[in-house]
Symmetry: C2
Subunit: 488 residues, 2 copies
């Protein structure tokens, strides 16, 4: 038996919208998603509660990738320094962050091996062997792996020295096909992140000074965190022919001419999508999980006060559990005897279980189930014979509710501004601002310093011209509408 005092300490002790940073840390630890006490900075232990969610998110992306013609591969973790150095901009961008293996057993290795910070230089050294003819194209491969970056400041699921993602590396005959792939990548992001996980975001074309090292153009999805900072959760890059030329990836076209290929790479940031899932849907009681990715979708709580009722109620619970499991639901009866129903309610609400079935004497007598919806914080009574009908619709209703609630907040977070004062005021408030912009890096830099972090995140995919307008920051002639926000 636990005291009220203990129950209170067990739960989240801060409000999400008051102190997001502390709230986020408490959710991670109190839901037992991770342990941050492993003794290497920036390397966390993923415990079952996060791993199960992560595995479901991987499944969703892998399905979309395979449906759009990608196939799974696994490339080595290690990249020889010589491969890594072939594309000049790429190596400049990533080298400061690379971990190096230099020794093995008692020996010093002849050359250093990089731990993959991203795998362009691993994949493309092989692509030059695999691609010979137009018949070999398109080539669309992905891998689901951890990557390694020597980051100075780390935060679980937001910035790590080891983090989880997917990387897809695609090769085409023409630039046009490559650009079509960028659109497909954006559609796949939308299908999973927005439709299945209910996280709203905006896909932006990053400014040239903020693109992926080695790319022609970078397109990235930003979502808005509750502290008013945006988080990049997915990105896709038009690599042009930069890597093709560095690695000698050519094909003989239908006319018999040898040409360089066109490439894209796509990186759904699984780790950051978990961060967004927690942050966007969570509330002051803890996690709120969409039905599709919840490790337990339905928790069944037996409620009884006499030994007489106990057997009947537990029987009912276990029968229901079996039936639900047979139909493919992830379900569990919490029959612990050293915890009160109230304690259990709190614990499973904290952990974000979408549905709670409460089954007591009254339910048994009336042939009903009391269902608690985590997203609505509301109970409803469903008659037993209608429960499967109810369960057919409710996962969709939950995600629609989560999505529309999140979308409302996201849309309110975007403000159109025209003046320097409005920029300062709204960046301070934690808004994403949309403003006419001169398109000069110096102006962006000045604005970033003055607003303590308001960064130009880019334009919409089809750049919106701002003819005749003045840059909201410097007042000179504006070229395009851009989005500006503080970011992680």
């Amino acid at each position: 038996m636990t005291s009220k005092q203990e129950e209170k300490q067990y739960g989240i002790t801060v409000k999400k919208n008051k102190d997001f940073s502390e709230w986020f840390s408490q959710v991670l630890i109190k839901t037992d998603m991770i342990d941050i006490r492993y003794n290497v900075q920036g390397f966390i232990v993923h415990k079952p509660w996060s791993m199960k969610i992560i595995k479901e998110i991987y499944k969703l992306f892998e399905r979309e990738l395979e449906n759009s013609g990608h196939e799974p591969v696994l490339f080595p973790l290690v990249i020889p320094e010589e491969n890594f150095e072939k594309e000049k901009e790429h190596v400049e961008g990533f080298k400061p962050e690379v971990f190096w293996i230099t020794e093995a057993g008692d020996e010093r290795l002849e050359r250093r091996l990089a731990l993959r910070p991203t795998s362009e230089t691993a994949f493309y050294s092989m692509y030059s062997l695999w691609v010979q003819s137009w018949r070999d194209l398109p080539l669309k491969l992905y891998q689901s792996v951890s990557v390694y970056r020597y980051e100075k400041h780390t935060r679980p699921f937001i910035r790590g020295r080891e983090f989880l993602w997917i990387e897809a590396h695609d090769v085409f005959r023409s630039h046009e096909e490559a650009l079509q792939q960028v659109y497909e990548d954006m559609r796949n992001s939308k299908k999973v992140i927005y439709e299945k996980l209910g996280i709203p975001f905006i896909f932006l074309k990053r400014p040239q000074w903020d693109k992926f090292a080695g790319a022609l153009d970078t397109y990235a999805a930003d979502t808005l965190m509750p502290d008013g900072r945006v988080l990049q959760i997915s990105s896709t890059h038009d690599l042009g022919q930069n890597f093709a030329k560095a690695f000698g990836i050519t094909f003989v076209d239908q006319k018999g001419e040898k040409r360089y290929v066109w490439q894209t790479c796509y990186g759904p940031g699984i780790w950051r999508i978990v961060a967004a899932l927690i942050a966007v849907h969570g509330d002051d009681r803890g996690l709120v999980l969409p039905f599709d990715v919840a490790p337990i979708q339905i928790i069944i709580i037996p409620i009884y006060y006499t030994e007489e009722d106990k057997k009947n109620i537990l029987d009912k619970c276990y029968n229901l559990e079996k039936e639900l499991r047979d139909r493919g639901f992830r379900v569990k009866v919490d029959a612990r005897e050293d915890r009160t129903p109230g304690w259990k309610f709190n614990e499973w609400e904290l952990k974000g279980i979408p549905l709670r079935f409460e089954i007591g004497k009254k339910e048994l007598e009336k042939g009903i189930i009391t269902v608690f919806r985590r997203d609505l914080l509301k109970r409803e009574r469903i008659s037993e014979e209608k429960i499967y009908e109810y369960l057919k619709d409710v996962p969709g209703r939950i995600i629609e509710n989560l999505r529309s609630r999140a979308e409302k907040i996201f849309k309110e977070g975007i403000v159109v501004v025209r003046s320097r004062e409005e920029v300062i005021e709204n960046i301070k408030k934690g808004k994403i601002i949309k403003m006419p912009f001169c398109d000069k890096e110096e102006c962006a830099e000045d604005m970033r310093e003055a607003t303590e972090g308001g960064k130009v995140r880019g334009t919409e995919i089809e750049e919106e011209r701002a003819s005749g307008l003045k840059c909201a920051w410097c007042g000179k002639e504006a070229k395009k509408w851009v989005y500006v926000a503080k970011s992680y």
Copy 2:
């Protein structure tokens, strides 16, 4: 159009039982499972044909592990040298094989970080924090990851510097419970490797001089490869309290006393199971895949000679493909026009697809499908309306056939011997021998040298005493029956 000459070169050019080593290499390359040209020794590229099989094998094991109370986690890739050195025997066993990260960005790290060669020392540093009370036990966690060992000689799927496995790390209150876990691990191995994949093996208790570094006892599954060498494909270890003492993993028992835990670890060798799958079931035409793990389970080949027939036959093929896909089968129509049906037959047989549906004019007219079974190399005609009934049973029939065929060979490969001459003769023939043994390491060593590799692999799990018998090798008093074989 391709010539007969080309078709021939495309296929496997040696017999599996004549030159297994060359056969194995040709299968890996010609089925496009892997590429060995990545420029770091012992690190291979897993191409889609192997990755898809590997993902299915992972699913099978993860299901059994979860059904037996394990949960997924992910621990860091890197292990600080200080953790790694805590268990004396363990570090002595693994240190010569460890890759070390020593640099990051432009900096030299303060301490070296090991790439996990196995993760006892990562897991158990946290287990000492997680386990406090008897209520925390049992603790049963697993991760599906790559591990890294600086091996001198490497061979794809058999011995690599990077290879894929699962590792499960379990903690108990008593030695008895830990030993029960060893049995559960063996049952799970049997369920997947033997029942689902049809690979016969024998679980042996390894001799003390050949156990896992840091364990009390090692139990390992050996299968027999076509060249007469055994391959260890799975192992489970009774760790006793060795790591508990090294890492300070204690719990307060129900009487309030603090005690050290008992531990086991289990490692299904996913990579080596792939090697065994290829080697045990494959034939002179190439791979033979069980239905459950085949990336494509049914390949549909349209056969037509006139433009008139083409449309009807292709329509039929695509309709069937859709129907089969809707029912959950992995199926593909091979409608390539620049390949003859014969070429396609060869290619998909090489790749091991369990079923081929041939659909031509005759099939259309008669309302039948000509089905080719890869495992039997036989055609049968199934009437269209019976195809789903056929497909309900055939996966089971395929695996039963593969298993019983493999088991016959495996059983014939085991010979009971009593004399030195018989030992020498049968080890030379590539048999697993069972013999009475004195249980002396020096005798085992002498036998290994004299037989050019015949190693004592261990006893059956319940050691079989050999009272009154003489050691088949040295002639002194025998203690137990052991199995001896050349090994990978």
